[in-house]
Symmetry: C2
Subunit: 229 residues, 2 copies
DNA sequence: CTTGGTTATAGTGTCGACATTATAGCCGCA
DNA sequence: TGCGGCTATAATGTCGACACTATAACCAAG
């Protein structure tokens, strides 16, 4: 899962950081059900840590938009809604479009080679109908382009905050999610534009790609609405 | 300062929240010098609170990107750099462009009236050469459009996180910052496009506007580089 | 005088306990 | 029986103290 290397905290040193990563994974993978209220004493006991450390970890989760807190009431895991998913797609369209434009300007030759390799992996997995891991390939693709923008703040905004939500939703839609062939073609066009250093075109293509992805997700949601688990 | 009403925590109930707002203001207005390391015991004593509450407040400041923390080392106020300022402009171009597009689709008639009023205020202040408060008018303008997008996550991302940084930099550039007339014309065009419900044009104009603002800031920086205060 | 190691000190991370607030259950009353 | 207020309980907010880490000052050897 190369896309995880984009995150900081690869090797957490403090208890609160370890807890944060543990809880984040548990939330993203549905181990802790969405919308559930967090009981600080309960969770602290379950993980064998103090409430102070737990609160610090919850604070970080709040920054990642994975939990919401209200004063004197407590924290609860975020729920999901079609509305929120559409909001995320709108933000991705704008920011990743810009990222693609910047990547076309700033990506190094080595990074372009890496991008091409991701495409090859993608193609190989399509040939073998490995639709499960396709998600990782897709995330790797988008992460690489974001990294290529060289805009540190943009990278943090997307890789560290927004993409947690993307993974959160993607995990729930995983079952029927297979737009691989079409997505691969679109990825291919984007990379070509970046290789030509055509930032304008790269941005346009990326925005189209994300909009297509959104439309597909919407269709899925109409057939199979999200359930609270 | 109507633009502050866009923030949550209007009336903080908990000590940590009050501290957070206090510290945020102090940082934005340069009361605490940029780049300064934070001593938890010192600050806690200065504000008469416990270190625990202070740490919670610092955590929130970290989410706003106003301080950075390293494990076992501590937190320090962010510094500023031309590079970072350019990064922020790139993000604003993408996200506020999208916000303008969405605002053209979703803004209500009342919100459009409010926008027009802001333009009138802007014009009045130009006539009186009140360049100081022009910044507030400008922030109000951008805040209103962001709010008009009706994308809750986008609103939070911009109003709650990114715009703290905008204010942080704007405070340091305040002295020579007067692009009022030009900015007013651009604002006018944007509002017209939104009134026509022309999202495509609104996005284009907003992106041009922010790019022009960036270019102006760059010129200022060449003449008068940022000093660490 | 410089450099490497050692010790002292200040600071951060962690914890358990107390104060305050929200919530749920219960009782009394209409 | 239904509703309003009260009480008890549990949870969150806050605090002070201890443990561990990084830094700075100091000393000794070259």
């Amino acid at each position: 899962m190369a896309f995880l290397t984009a995150c900081k905290l690869q090797d957490p040193v403090t208890i609160a950081d370890k807890l944060f990563l543990d809880l984040r994974r548990a939330i993203l993978e549905g181990e802790i059900p969405a919308g559930k209220k967090i009981s600080e004493p309960e969770l602290a006991a379950a993980y064998g840590v103090s409430r102070g450390s737990l609160r610090e970890a919850i604070g970080k989760l709040e920054n990642c938009n994975l939990v919401t807190r209200k004063p004197n009431i407590g924290a609860r895991i975020i729920g999901f809604s079609t509305e929120q998913l559409l909001e995320i797609y709108q933000i991705r369209e704008a920011t990743e479009g810009m990222a693609a434009r910047l990547a076309a300007e700033h990506m190094t030759a080595e990074e372009l080679v890496h991008l091409r390799k991701i495409l090859e992996r993608h193609q190989a997995e399509i040939a073998q109908h490995q639709r499960y891991s396709q998600h990782d390939v897709d995330l790797d693709f988008h992460f690489s382009i974001i990294q290529g923008s060289k805009n540190k703040r943009l990278i943090r905004m997307l890789c560290q905050d927004l993409y947690d939500l993307v993974r959160f939703y993607r995990f729930r839609l995983k079952s029927g999610f297979s737009r691989s062939e079409q997505a691969f073609q679109e990825h291919n066009l984007i990379v070509s534009a970046i290789e030509r250093r055509d930032g304008e075109m790269a941005e346009t293509l990326m925005r189209h790609h994300i909009r297509a992805s959104r439309d597909y997700a919407c269709k899925l949601l109409e057939q199979m609405p999200l359930s609270d688990t």
